[in-house]
């Protein structure tokens, strides 16, 4: 008689997870120690001593580089998790934070501030966050039918995105001279992110990551289909609603501090799935770690390649990430 053993892939998956965490640590250290200005490791350590006499590069390390790297890691984590949750709940491989209206709502709100009241630029993260949640709420309202129907949600998302997109186009046409000021935010990036931004996104990351870690089992069950999940005792409607709200909070907080950084939420979940398989118990933590690593590495590269000129990190990520993703996809198919 054959005993029920442990899946032989578990060991491998554990190693991949551990490796990912190690890679994230290396990425963060690399991000903090490199940049347009050369700093010593000693200076970085001194920064954390809270001593009264601060070194020459204290300002650069403490107020520019560390918050920037942290914001990058948290944004990557949030977007990747939002993508994993949405792709799982909606059972749609093309689902990303844009599909529930987050991107369009945040985009229109932020653009209105950047164009009409540029002197209030500091309000952009809060306004974008509110805009994202408002658009998501609208999508929810439109798709509600005794609970959330995934197909209606996707269609409502497309309609709301088109409506808000019209608003953005109108702003661009009537203020064509000020469009340049919005381009950086639209492309997404971490230029000038400070501790305020870390404070803004971190609570949502804590809630979102904890939620995602403990809900990953439900994601597995939802993947079996509504009927099967119901048969196994899952309150499908309630779980689906809670998970989408979680994804909306994760994505809205990420978009509000980083701008419209599209690529991460769509590609990182697929990338992780190709590497580690689709068991959500491994997929969620792994996607969080990979998302953070990818964004931190890409941002570091964006700062370094043509220094002191910076490339928008979204552009760099699309140019490097898309071919890598295609490579994994082809390799996966051949197997």
């Amino acid at each position: 008689m054959k005993t029920l053993g442990i899946d032989p892939r578990v060991d491998l998956r554990n190693w991949i997870l551990l490796g990912g965490a190690g890679l994230l640590l290396i990425a963060v250290l690399l991000g903090v120690s490199t940049g347009a200005v050369r700093v010593d490791i000693g200076e970085i350590i001194d920064t954390f001593r809270w001593s009264a006499d601060v070194g020459e590069n204290y300002q650069i390390i403490y107020n520019i580089r560390i918050p920037r790297v942290l914001v990058g890691a948290l944004v990557g984590m949030n977007l990747a998790l939002a993508g994993v949750i949405l792709q799982g709940v909606l059972r749609n491989p093309l689902a990303d934070p844009g599909i529930i209206g987050v991107t369009a709502g945040a985009g229109l709100a932020a653009m209105a501030v950047l164009i009409l009241w540029p002197e209030q630029t500091f309000l952009v993260p809060s306004v974008a966050f509110v805009g994202a949640l408002a658009a998501t709420g609208l999508v929810f309202l439109l798709s509600w039918q005794d609970g959330i129907n995934p197909l209606r949600l996707i269609l409502a998302g497309v309609a709301v995105a088109a409506f808000f997109g019209g608003g953005m186009s109108a702003l661009m046409v009537f203020h064509s001279d000020k469009v340049q000021g919005t381009v950086n935010w639209m492309a997404g990036g971490f230029q000038g992110r400070s501790w305020e931004h870390v404070r803004m996104i971190l609570p949502y990351t804590v809630v979102g990551v904890s939620g995602a870690m403990f809900c990953s089992r439900y994601l597995n069950l939802l993947n079996l289909g509504d009927e099967a999940a119901k048969g196994l005792g899952v309150p499908v409607e309630r779980v689906r609603f809670a998970l989408i709200v979680l994804a909306a909070l994760l994505a809205a907080s990420a978009v509000s501090v980083a701008g419209l950084l599209g690529f991460v939420g769509l590609i990182v979940p697929h990338l992780t799935r190709l590497i580690i398989g689709s068991d959500s118990e491994y997929l969620t933590p792994c996607a969080a770690v990979f998302g953070a690593t990818l964004v931190v590495l890409a941002d570091t590269a964006a700062r370094l390649i043509f220094r002191p000129v910076e490339i928008p990190v979204g552009v760099l990520m699309a140019f490097l990430g898309a071919p890598f993703f295609l490579y994994l996809l082809r390799k996966g198919v051949r197997k």
């Binding site: 809270w50 001593s51 650069i60 002197e119 500091f122 001279d177 000021g181 002191p308």
Partner: protein, 320 residues
């Protein structure tokens, strides 16, 4: 292992949360030098050194005006939209990146005591970080001719070179009055300034820099005939029908890029275009492309050159 991560990741993040919210960092020590209060064009009141010694300009116009006021900078934008003479002068000064995405680390590492930026979101975003580092930043809009003269005078007080600043102002004013003198008594020219391309364009309203120069030269901007002229927007999309009815004497084009192809190409494009070819300006070959450096961005001290060029195009008979 998943259990370890499931608990580990949230706990790690919670610790970070604690550190970020309740950790305190030592305050920045700023050197006590004589200060003055400066109100920039966004209405912010900024405490800046009475006589800044280490200034960084983030865009071409500010750099140009600061040098016109007899100043010198220690950091400059990555740009070529400046006069050849000035470019030669600043060749060896460190660059701090493109105007629309300056490099914060580079700026802070140069230890400036004043940064000059523009009234645009990408510079507003620098304010909180620079403030923490104890570096004041001025955001200047420069929307029209008057603001150029005013800014040179203000910068003259900062550099302590008031004479040099007055000389620069006088030179610009002289160039503009020479232009005005040429057109005295001439019939008012009716002009249209297009921003974009013949396919996708906006019209320059009186609030734009080019529109402001038209007003200065007493030309009639046909865009003014529209109801939109009272609005605050410098550029407006308007229908071809409106333009055909207004039928301007001269059509001028400002493109988005610094691509300096001759206006011959633009003239031919309009002549071939069914909607444009019936207009008087096109029939009389009075369509011209304006140089990007002088009209799409604020020309700064080159405004005299811009005026001279505009006079030649609006009133060709006044050339001699």
């Amino acid at each position: 292992m998943p259990k370890m991560v499931r608990w580990g990741l949230p706990i790690l993040l919670l610790m970070l949360l604690g550190g970020v919210y309740w950790g305190t960092a030592p305050a920045v020590k700023t050197t006590e030098a004589a200060k003055r209060e400066f109100t920039d064009s966004t209405g912010r009141r900024v405490q800046i050194p009475a006589r800044p010694q280490r200034v960084i300009a983030l865009n071409a116009s500010n750099l140009d005006l600061y040098y016109a006021a007899g100043g010198q900078v220690i950091g400059r934008p990555t740009t070529v939209a400046l006069s050849a003479e000035l470019l030669e002068k600043i060749k060896s000064i460190p660059q701090v990146g493109e105007t629309s995405s300056p490099n914060l680390e580079k700026i802070v590492s140069l230890k400036p005591d004043l940064v000059l930026g523009v009234d645009a979101p990408f510079h507003h975003a620098l304010v909180p970080v620079l403030e923490k580092a104890g570096i004041p930043i001025l955001l200047q809009a420069l929307p029209n001719y008057q603001s150029i003269l005013q800014t040179i005078r203000q910068y003259g007080e900062l550099t302590g070179n008031v004479d040099q600043a007055s000389r620069s102002v006088a030179e610009i004013e002289a160039a503009v009055s020479r232009g005005k003198a040429k057109i005295a008594g001439k019939k008012t020219a009716r002009a249209l300034v297009i921003w974009g391309s013949p396919e996708s364009f906006n019209m320059a309203m009186p609030q734009s820099f080019a529109g402001n120069l038209l007003t200065l030269l007493g030309a009639e901007n046909v865009a003014q005939l529209s109801v939109a002229a009272t609005g605050p927007m410098p550029y407006m999309p308007l229908s071809l029908e409106f333009i055909a009815k207004a039928d301007p004497d001269v059509i001028l084009l400002i493109t988005h890029g610094a691509d300096e192809r001759v206006s011959e190409k633009f003239r031919k494009d309009l002549a071939d275009h069914p909607a444009w070819q019936g207009m008087r300006a096109v029939k009389n070959s009075r369509v011209h492309k304006l140089p990007y450096q002088l009209f799409a961005v604020n020309p700064g001290t080159q405004v005299g050159v811009a005026v001279e060029l505009l006079v030649g195009l609006l009133y060709p008979e006044a050339k001699r």
